[in-house]
Every structure is written in C-alpha cells, then in structure tokens.
Subunit: 322 residues, 2 copies
C-alpha cells in the first residue's frame, strides 16, 4: 500500500486548474502500487487516478511511461490513458512532485488466477509487444544483468541472513546468467512487471493493464518469462503446467515465439526470477522498519530460481512445439 505524500485540497484544486476536467469533488489515497502515491480522484468529468511520482521514479522517464500508455491505448491495448493538461503536457507539479492524472479503469485484479486468466494475460502481453513496435521512445532496462549485479553487491554480505548458503547459491546463478545471457533476440517495449495486481478483469474478460512504471526495451521473451513467474506458480511454490500452457498458448496465438526464443526461455525465466528475488532481498535487508510498505519475502523467488535451474526445455513450461 502506498500513500507517501498527502496533499491539501487547495494544492489539488490548483493543480486541477490546469486541466479541462471540471471541479474537484473528492480524492482518496488508495492502497495500490508500491512506488508512487495514488489517489482515486472524482471531478466533474468523472473518476480518475491521480499519481504523485515519488523518488524511485525518475522524472526524465515519465514521458516514456506516460507516452507509452497513450500510444498503446490508441492502438487498442486497454490501459489507462494519461489526461493531457491544457498546455498539452501529461504531467504537472503537485506538492513538489511530478504528478499525472490517468483515466480510471474498471476491473479487479485476480487474487487467485485461473488458467483462463493466464491465457488472457498471454494474449494481452503479445498484443502489447506488437502494439509497441512503432513507439518512438526507448528506455534501457535498468533491471537487467548489470542492474542485478549492483543490487547483489548491496546484498551479498548479508544474504545468508535470509537463508544459510544463499550467497553462494546466487553467485552460481550469476556465473551462469552472465556467461549465457542471449543476444539478438526479438526485442522492443516490454511491460516488465505484469504481475496479477497489474491486470484487471471483469469476470474472465481482461479489462486492462496498469502500472507501466517499469516498462523499458528488452527481449519480448524475457517479459513472457516474467509472466510465467508471476502467474503460473501456486501458493505452495509448485509450477502449474496447466497455467503455463495457457499463458504460452495465449501469447503464441498473437505472436508465435521464434525457435531461438523458445530455446532460451528457461534461462530467461531464471534471470527474471533472480531479478525479482534481488529487489525483494534488497528491500528486505535495507527497507526501513515500520514503513508503510509491506516487505515481500525474497524466498518465494529463491524457490522459483531453484525450479528454473532444473528446467531443460520450454516444453516443461507447457510450450507447444510449433
């Protein structure tokens, strides 16, 4: 949950004066997202989401994130549409922070994803990859191998506090991933954080994707690997082959994987599991006590890492042979 910055009604009314959205009716801080402060905002024009970007988001990245949402929405990918100010800008200043208003998307994120949800997410991810092809901006993935190494440097000395032996175990992953990380796979704009809480459904119908604040340019198949990690494991940490099969089939119904992508899917899934393990581990070891943010257990992703190490081919995730 996240409301890091409270704002006064006078500040917000002044900010809203830069938009054609009618008068301010109400705003309530919501417990969604972990990086920014988010509010449900009601104006004369209806409900919106107001986001204040906190320190973990670089101001210079906002044109990429918000521009991408606008680009995708215009190409039929259901996602929030940033509302432009009268001066044409997509952000303004509020309480000393950059802030944006985006459209309110109805739908609920699935607390207990089903294979039908997984299939729909796979399809939506592929549509996002296709629709992003002509997006003119680019943003390197700050959380790829060099970024992981930086996080790891800040955790290594204390990793064994989480589980004895974890330091050596993860060092071995780094050796394998740094030696074998692929080059030249199909790449473009990826979401990079398409977890269940970022995908809304109305019943089994996917109603939209949210939270593009990790979006960047990287391999499409890496994004798909992240979805395997985020959607296809059960609470007991077992991989659910039915869900994996559904996710991959959904993806391939829109954008079939090239053989080179299928080949390295286990390595990409291992890298993706390492990436989420590392950010959780870093927050676990360095996060302030008593913060208003729930710390997430890095061990969940250590278990996924262990699973992927033993995977020999993408068919074990449910990938159908072409």
């Amino acid at each position: 949950m996240a409301v890091y910055t409270d704002i006064t009604e006078a500040e917000l009314a002044a900010f809203l004066g830069g938009y054609d959205l009618g008068g301010l009716l109400s705003y309530k801080g919501i417990a969604e997202g972990t990086e920014n402060s988010n509010f449900v905002l009601h104006t004369g024009a209806g409900p919106f989401i107001l986001t204040l970007y906190e320190k973990r988001v670089e101001r210079s990245d906002l044109p990429f994130f918000l521009g991408l949402m606008e680009h995708l929405a215009k190409r039929g990918v259901s996602c929030p549409l940033p509302v432009r100010r009268r001066n044409g800008e997509m952000t303004g200043d509020l309480a000393g922070r950059p802030a944006a208003i985006i459209t309110f998307l109805e739908g609920m994120w699935p607390r207990r994803p089903t294979p039908a949800h997984c299939r729909a997410v796979g399809e939506a991810l592929a549509r996002l990859h296709v629709a992003g092809a002509d997006f003119p901006l680019a943003r390197p993935n700050a959380l790829s191998l060099p970024g992981w190494r930086t996080l790891w440097d800040g955790c290594l000395a204390r990793a064994d506090e989480v589980e004895p032996g974890l330091g050596a175990e993860v060092a071995a992953d780094f050796s394998v991933l740094e030696a074998g990380w692929p080059r030249g796979l199909p790449a473009g704009v990826i979401h990079a954080d398409l977890f269940p809480d970022n995908v809304f459904f109305l019943g089994d119908r996917l109603s939209g994707l949210i939270d593009f604040y990790f979006a960047c340019n990287d391999f499409f198949a890496y994004d798909l690997a992240t979805c395997l990690n985020a959607w296809c494991f059960e609470r007991d940490h077992a991989f659910n082959l039915t869900k994996g099969t559904a996710l991959l089939a959904g993806y391939q119904s829109v954008r079939p994987l090239a053989p080179a992508e299928a080949e390295v899917l286990p390595l990409l899934a291992r890298g993706s599991a390492l990436r989420f393990m590392l950010t959780r581990l870093y927050d676990w070891l360095h996060g302030p006590d008593g913060a208003l943010v729930m710390k997430r257990d890095p061990m969940e992703y250590v278990r996924k890492l262990r699973f992927h190490r033993a995977v020999a081919s993408a068919s074990e995730y449910g990938l159908a042979r072409p």
Copy 2:
C-alpha cells in the same frame, strides 16, 4: 491508513449478490479511517464505500452506528446512507467479518481548517444533536470517565517514558475530573469523533459528516468540546480564538447552549483532551511496531490539557454571552 483485510473478487461478488446494486466493477482499498478496512467500490449503480468491521468494532454496536446514519440522513443531515440488502439488513458477512456498503459522499476533508469551516462544523454538529433526538437506540459512551480510567491503568506505569512527570500530571487531572464531572446536562446522540478528517467540504460548503463509529449517548456540550479540541488549535498548539468563536457561534445558531452547559465547557474540554490523549498514549505504548497505522503523538493532547486547565470561563473559547 487502513486496509487490514484483503478480499478476493469472488468473495466480494458473492457478497454483492445480496444487494440490488448491479455487477461488481472495481474495488480499491483506501487509506482512510483507522479502525476498519475501507474500499472505494464501483458497481453498476455507481460508487460506494465498502467497510469491513475489524476487531475494534463490536458487531452488536453496528445497528446503532448504521441505524443512526440512516436516521440522520433521512432528517437532512448529510452523511452516508447505509445501503440495505435485499433481505432488509444493513450488514452482511464478508471475509469472516461484518461488512456494510454505504453511499459515496463527495467532498474533501480540510487539511487546514479556516474559521468558515469551523462555523460550518459547529452548525452541523448542532443539527446532528437536534436530528438525533428521536433516534430510538442508545449506546453508552465507552470512552467516558470509567473508560478513561481503564486506559490510564494500562498506561500509568510507563507514562513518564513519554515525558517525565506526565504520570503525576495526569493523575491530578483525574482527581479534578472525577470529582467535578457534571450530571444532568442536556444529552443525546453525539458523534464523539468529529475531527477534520470526518467532515467533508466542497469549497466552504460542508458536504457531509462521516465515520459514526464512536457515536454514542452523552452530553451535547461534551461533543462540542471535542470539536474545540479538534478544530481550533493551530499546529504550534496555540488556541485560535477566531476559530473557537466561529465554531461556537455556528453551534449556537442552531442550538443555543444552556447556562449550565456554558459553565462547565472548560471542564468538558479538559476531559475531552484527556480522552484523546489517553487513546493515543495507549496506542503509543502498546501498538505493534511496524503496523500499517500511523501512531499519533499523545503530547499534542497533553498540550491541550494544559491549555484547558488554565481556562476560567467559556468566554475564553469565544463563547458569546447569551
């Protein structure tokens, strides 16, 4: 901020099946209230607030709280209206807790109250007192003198951790208040927690009162004294006579105080300051570290206690002579 219980969309859809509110469109946990879990809920019928009552609210008190809101709303006091289920009930069960849906009230609580806000709150409080006169249920104030004594018994031994000498200082307040607490003042249903975050405004116009979960039967003038504490002190802890004058004039424009009420207002304000100091002190000393609830500083109310001890007559709060 408060979202203690997350709920699945399946649980919520089933719960909503007991209402005539159309289908479930979205729900988002909000950072408002400190006792319960609250969600902005969108259904086919519009926006609502969904509340799950947590352990600090007694299930047997809900008919009083929700019935009061319905009673007041029907008499023109702007407050949320509980939505009745098809079976006529105002609550149902959700995630193992009693839960209710109430109408969504537009408006913002004033982060920086002005004298105009204070006047409007005084008026609204008096209207609430008048409109509650024929409410058929009653609920004793669990946080009056005996309740304060119970809280104090749980804090006394450690009170000096907050400030040296605080234990003896507060013991003296108890002697004075227990010896002199009035009897027989005009009484009825009071809000008992009408702080700025429970009063919504659209501009200077009061749009509604919320959060009736401390409402009970007690002296009307005690409720007014609580508003003096909640609305008329500045951040530097100084009493603002202009705001006090406005609050009291607003109140008296609807319900003039009897001489006996005016006479004891300083004692009631001292008691009210003690009550809020004690709940804060208790939470400060006993609250879990790292909880998702901000602990509020009891010293703010110690300073108000000290102010009221030195007040000789209600004219020092700005009460106009009748």
